[in-house]
Symmetry: D2
Subunit: 345 residues, 4 copies
C-alpha cells in the first residue's frame, strides 16, 4: 500500500489541529496496516485540541492524534501470525512494553513504559494507521461497528464497574460524560440493584436517563448525599464510581458511600483535594482504587460478551456524526459538553 | 401463647408422616415463636417421607419436619433484642454453633456442629415453630410472601451462582429441579452471557424455558457436550453448576467445561464416581467447589436485592399449592417430578 | 462470686483516672465473669487518661477502662454453652450487634452498632470483668500469657498485614508504636521479602530493629521516599502500612509506594490531609484501605497459628510491667513514648 | 555464531537418547541464542528417555530434549529490545501463543496452543539453544546459578503453594519428588504453620526432613490420615498439595483435608480414580484446583524474592551432578528415585 492519506495532526506546540496529506505508513515487523472506517473523539483529544497543561507536558508534535476507531486490516507486516487482511478490528492503543513488572504480572494496563498511539505516537484520526498485532482486537460480525469504534471508553467503563463485586450492589456514578454514561448499562448488566447518577449538564442528565439510570441528580441544585442516604435506608451506596474528576463530586462520594464500600476513581481531579482520612476512609473501612485504562484483554472479552448477549446497548450514547474533514465542528461540539460520543466517519 | 396446633411429624422409623395435634412450643431465651403462613416442600422432605438411606442414618423420630416457610412473629423469648411480634419473617434453618472454626471465620454455613430445624429438631410443617433470633430474616413488604417461603432453595441457587465470577460468563446448569430452575434467572441477573440447562423431564425442561434458559437440552436424547462446545465456539462453558447429583451429568459437566473454568457442585451423587483427574481436572486447570447451604447472611441480602430490584422473578417456579392437611397429595406430586416448588398453605 | 474489687475508672469528665473499690459484677445471661491476671495499656487508654477531644466526645463516665487482658473464667451466666470456669481466656472487646449488614456479612469488626468494653462499657483494668461468651478467645497452654494479654493490638497488626497479598512483597511500615512494631515480625512470617520502618523516636527505632526490621529510618533526618526507592530499584514498595496517623508520614507513603501497590491505613490522622489524587492514587493505580480492629475471628486464629508455630516472637515488644495500683507511673511511661507495651499485673 | 554443538536428542520413536553433533541454531527475529551452562533433569525427561505412553503420544522425533537450564546470551536476533549478549538468563520453556483466551486474560500458563521447548521443539540439553525474548528471565547476580537452572520445577512448587491462602495454614504435601521437596521451604516461607510430607522412598523422606518438613510420613507403613488428624486436633489440614500422582495418595488427601480446605493437584494420576463426591467434596465444602506450570511471570518474581531474601534455600535439593556426556548415568540415577535434582554441567 503506497500513496498518501489524510491525517489530523498536531504540528506545533499550541491550540488547534491541522488536516494534512501525508504518506500512508508501512506495517513494520509485527504490525498491521488498518484502513480506518470509524473514529470517535475522546476527552483527551479535546485536551490536545485546546492544548491544556497536560497536553503541553505530554505531547511532542508532530503527531497524528486519535485513539478510538474501527477499521479493516489491509496489510500485515512480517511475523504477524494471527491476523489476515480483510479482518475487521479495533485496538487497544496503549502499547505496553511486555517486560516491566506490571506487564509480566498480568497488569499491562499499568505498564511503566507505556506508549499511547494518538498521544505519544501516530493515532487513528487519519485514513490509515499501523498497530502492533498484540494490540489488535477482532470485531465479530454480531457487533455494531459504531460500538466497536468506542471500545476504548466503553472499556474504561467496564473495567471500572468490574473492579469489585457488582451483583446486588447499589451504585453511585459521579459524572455523566461518555464513560460515566457507558457505565450505567454495564453496572445494570453486571447485577447492580440500583444506579444513581450525578451530572451538572441537563443534556447529559437526559442521556443518563436514557441509558437506564434509576435516579439522576443535578448536584448544582440537589444534595447528592442526602438523596443517596434516603434511597439506601441511611446506609449509603455499596459502590461509588468517580468519573467527573471534580473535587466537589469526590467529596459527595465520600459522604454517600457505605461502610466497607468500594470507591473507584477514574476521573482525574485537576488539583489536590483535602480529605478527612479518619472519618471518610478509616472509620468507614472503605476501599479506594485508582483505575487506569482497561485490562488487556479481560475487559475486551467482557465487552464482547455484554454486547453480543444483548445485555448492554450503547445506542443512545452516540449522539453526533461528522465527516473527518469537518473535524472543527466535531471538536467544538465536544467542547460544548452537549454531546455523548461523537463519531468521525 | 398456649394451646395446641397441627404438626406434620415423623413418628417412627419408616416411610410416611403423621399429622398430629401437639402443644404449641414456647419461645425459649433468644428464640421467637412464629405463626407459619406458607411452607414449601424440599427434596429433603421427600427423602424423609420415603425414608431413604440418608433419612435412616440422620433422623431421630419423633420430629416435626419442614424447613422452608414464611410467617409472622407472635411471641419473643427472653434476650430477644432485634425483633418484635407482628414482624413477618422467614429463617435460615441451619442453626450454627457460632464457636467452631468455620463459624468463627465467616463460614457458619459449614458449621461443624450444625443442627437443622425440620431434620434434627422440630421444623415448620406445623402451625407454629420456634427459631433462634440469630437465624431470623425479616421479609420486607416489597417481597412476595410466596418467594419469601422459598428463600432456602433460592438461597442454594444464589450461593452456587455467586461462588465465583459471573459477569459475561457462560453457564451450564445440570438438572432443572427447583434449585437448578431458580439458578437460571439468578445467573442472568448476575450477568451471565448464556445459560444452558440439561434436564431429563419434559415438564421441567418447559419450566427451564419459562425461567429464561437460552438453550434447554434433553440429555437422554441429545449430546450435551457436543451442543455446549458448538455454542461456545469449541471452548466450553465458563461455569458448570451441578444440581442433579447424577453421575452421568457430572461427567457431561467435565466434558463441557472450558480450561480454567469453575465447576460448582451442589447436587449429591448417590454413589462414587470415577474421574480421569489428569485430563478432566489437571490439564484443564479447572476449579471444583463443593457447595453447601447458603452464606449467612450474604446470600440473604443478595436474595432481597435481586427480588426487590425486580431482576429476578420466581413466579413460574411455584407450580402447586395445597392445604397443609392435604400433605399426602402434595408429597405425591413432588415425588412424581412433574412439579416446581409446592407450597403448603 | 460476691464482694468487691479494685477498678480503675474515669469518674468525671476531665483528665485522670481513679482507683476505686466497687462490687464484683455478675455474669448475666450469655456472659462469663473473668478474674483478670494481666492487662496492657493501649494508646486509647492514654487518650482517655489525658481526656483528649476524642475522649470528650465518646466517653460517658463513670466507666472502668481497659480492653487488653488475659484472665481466667470464674463464673458462667445462663445459656453459656462452650466455656467452663477454670479456662484461661482473652477477649475481643468490640461487642458487635450480630444483626446489622456488616455483622451479617462476615464483617462484625465494622459493626454499625458496636460497643467497646473499656470505652462504652466497663473494661478490664479491674480485678474482674464480664464478657459475652461470643467474644471470648480460649488461650491454649502453648501461648505465653504476656502475649495473650495483647491480642487486641497484635490483632490490629495481623489484620493490617493480612489485608492483601504478603508473600514476596516489600513492606514499608510508617510508625513504630506497639502496633507498627508487632507488624514487623508478622509481615516477615507472612513472607515479606523486606520490611522498612520509619519512626521519629530513637527508643522505638531500636525496638524496631530488635523486632526484625531490615531497615529503620528516622524521618526527621532521612528522606524516606529516597531510601525506599533506592532499596527497591526505583519501583517503590509493594505494601505501605500507615500506623502513625501523622500527615507527613501519610505523604511519605504515597511517595514510596509502587504502581498497583496496597496502602493500608490504620493510624488515625488528627486533621484533614491534602492529597493529589491524580498523581498519587489514580495514575499509580494503587489500592487504599481503611482498616479497623481485627477480623472476628479469622485474625485470632492467625494469631494463635503465628505464635504456636514459633513464627512470631513478641518478647521484645513488652518493655514495662507495673502493678495495677501503680497505674500512674505506668500511664506516664506510656505518655513519654519511650515504651513498647506496658503490662499491669 | 556458526559451527556445531553437542545435543542430546530423541532421534527415533523408542527408548533412549543420542548425543549428536549438530549445527548451532540461529536466533530468529525476536529470539536470542543462549550458551547453556547448567541443565537439570525433569521427570518429563525420564518419561521421554523411557518412551512411556505419554511420550509416544506427544513427541515427534527428531528433537533435542531438556527444558531446565541456566546460561548466557551470546547473540540476539532482530527486534530483540530488552536483552543484550552477556546477560545470564533462564527461561520459561512453555511458549504461549499470546492470542488465545487464556493468554489474553492473564493465564498464558494455560495457553490453548502452547509449544514446550524440549518436548515439542528443541530444548536445552545441548551446548546452545534459542528462546523467544518474551520467555527469558534475567538471573540477578545474588542468585546461585544452580538454583537458576531449576526455576521450572521450583516454579511449579511456588505456583502450587501460592494458589490460595498460605499464612498460618497447615499443609500436607503428598509425594517428595523434586517439586514436592521444593514446596516444603516455599510453604514455610509463605507462612505455613506446619508442613507434613508423605513419601514412600526413604532417600526422599530424608531429603524432606532436610528441606524443613515438620513431620515426614511413610505411607507404606503409617496411616497418613490418622496422623494428620491427630496433628490438627481432629480438623484436618487446611491445604493439601498432591505432587505424587498416585491414586492412593489422592485418597489420603481427601481423608486428611479439613472442611473448606484447598486441594491443589499437580501430580498426574496415570489412571482414573473413583471418588465419593458427596462425602469427600460436597459435604466438606472443599476447593479442588488443577495446577499447570507456573504463572508467567508472577511466579518468577516470587521465586526471585524468596531466594534473594534468603527465605528459601534449595541447596539440599540438588543431590547429583554429571557432565552432559555422562547423561546415561544421570538418567539412570534419576530413574532409581534415589535423587533430588540432577544437574548436567
Amino acid at each position: 500500500m503506497t500513496g498518501t492519506m489524510r491525517a489530523l495532526r498536531k504540528m506545533k506546540r499550541g491550540p488547534g489541529l491541522e488536516m494534512m496529506e501525508i504518506p500512508i505508513p508501512r506495517a513494520k515487523n509485527g504490525e498491521v496496516l488498518i484502513k480506518v472506517r470509524k473514529r470517535a473523539i475522546c476527552g483527551t483529544d479535546l485536551h490536545i485540541y485546546k492544548w491544556d497543561e497536560w497536553s503541553q507536558n505530554r505531547l511532542n508534535p508532530p503527531v497524528t492524534i486519535g485513539h478510538e476507531f474501527y477499521g479493516e486490516i489491509v496489510e500485515t507486516g512480517g511475523d504477524v501470525r494471527h491476523y489476515q487482511p480483510g479482518e475487521t478490528v479495533t485496538a487497544e492503543m496503549h502499547v505496553a512494553c511486555h517486560q516491566c513488572f506490571q506487564c509480566r504480572t498480568g497488569n499491562p494496563h499499568l505498564c511503566e513504559n507505556v506508549i499511547i498511539l494518538g498521544v505519544d505516537g501516530d493515532g487513528c484520526f487519519a485514513d490509515y494507521l499501523t498497530v502492533p498485532e498484540s494490540n489488535l482486537w477482532r470485531v465479530p460480525p454480531e457487533i455494531d461497528p459504531d460500538f466497536a469504534s468506542i471500545y476504548d471508553p466503553f472499556g474504561n467503563a467496564v473495567h471500572t464497574v468490574m473492579s469489585g463485586a457488582t451483583v446486588g450492589k447499589s451504585f453511585l456514578i459521579l459524572g455523566a460524560g461518555p464513560i460515566g454514561l457507558a457505565a450505567i448499562p454495564v453496572a445494570k448488566a453486571a447485577g447492580a440493584s440500583m444506579v444513581v447518577v450525578t451530572e451538572i449538564l441537563e443534556y447529559r442528565r437526559e442521556l443518563a436517563r436514557r441509558m437506564g439510570a434509576d435516579r439522576v441528580i443535578d448536584p448544582s441544585r440537589e444534595d447528592t448525599a442526602a438523596i443517596v442516604l434516603q434511597l439506601t435506608k441511611g446506609h449509603g451506596v455499596d459502590v461509588v464510581l468517580e468519573m467527573s474528576g471534580h473535587p466537589a463530586a469526590l467529596d459527595q462520594g465520600f459522604k454517600s458511600i457505605r461502610k466497607n464500600g468500594r470507591y473507584s476513581l477514574l476521573g482525574i481531579p485537576s488539583r489536590p483535594v483535602t480529605i478527612d482520612f479518619a472519618s471518610q476512609i478509616i472509620f468507614k473501612g472503605i476501599q479506594i482504587q485508582g483505575i487506569n485504562g482497561r485490562r488487556m484483554f479481560d475487559t475486551w472479552f467482557q465487552m464482547d460478551a455484554l454486547l453480543v448477549s444483548g445485555k448492554v446497548d450503547l445506542k443512545p450514547l452516540i449522539t453526533h456524526r461528522f465527516k473527518l474533514e469537518n473535524f472543527k465542528d466535531a471538536f467544538e461540539t465536544g467542547l460544548s459538553g452537549n454531546a455523548g460520543k461523537i463519531l468521525l466517519e
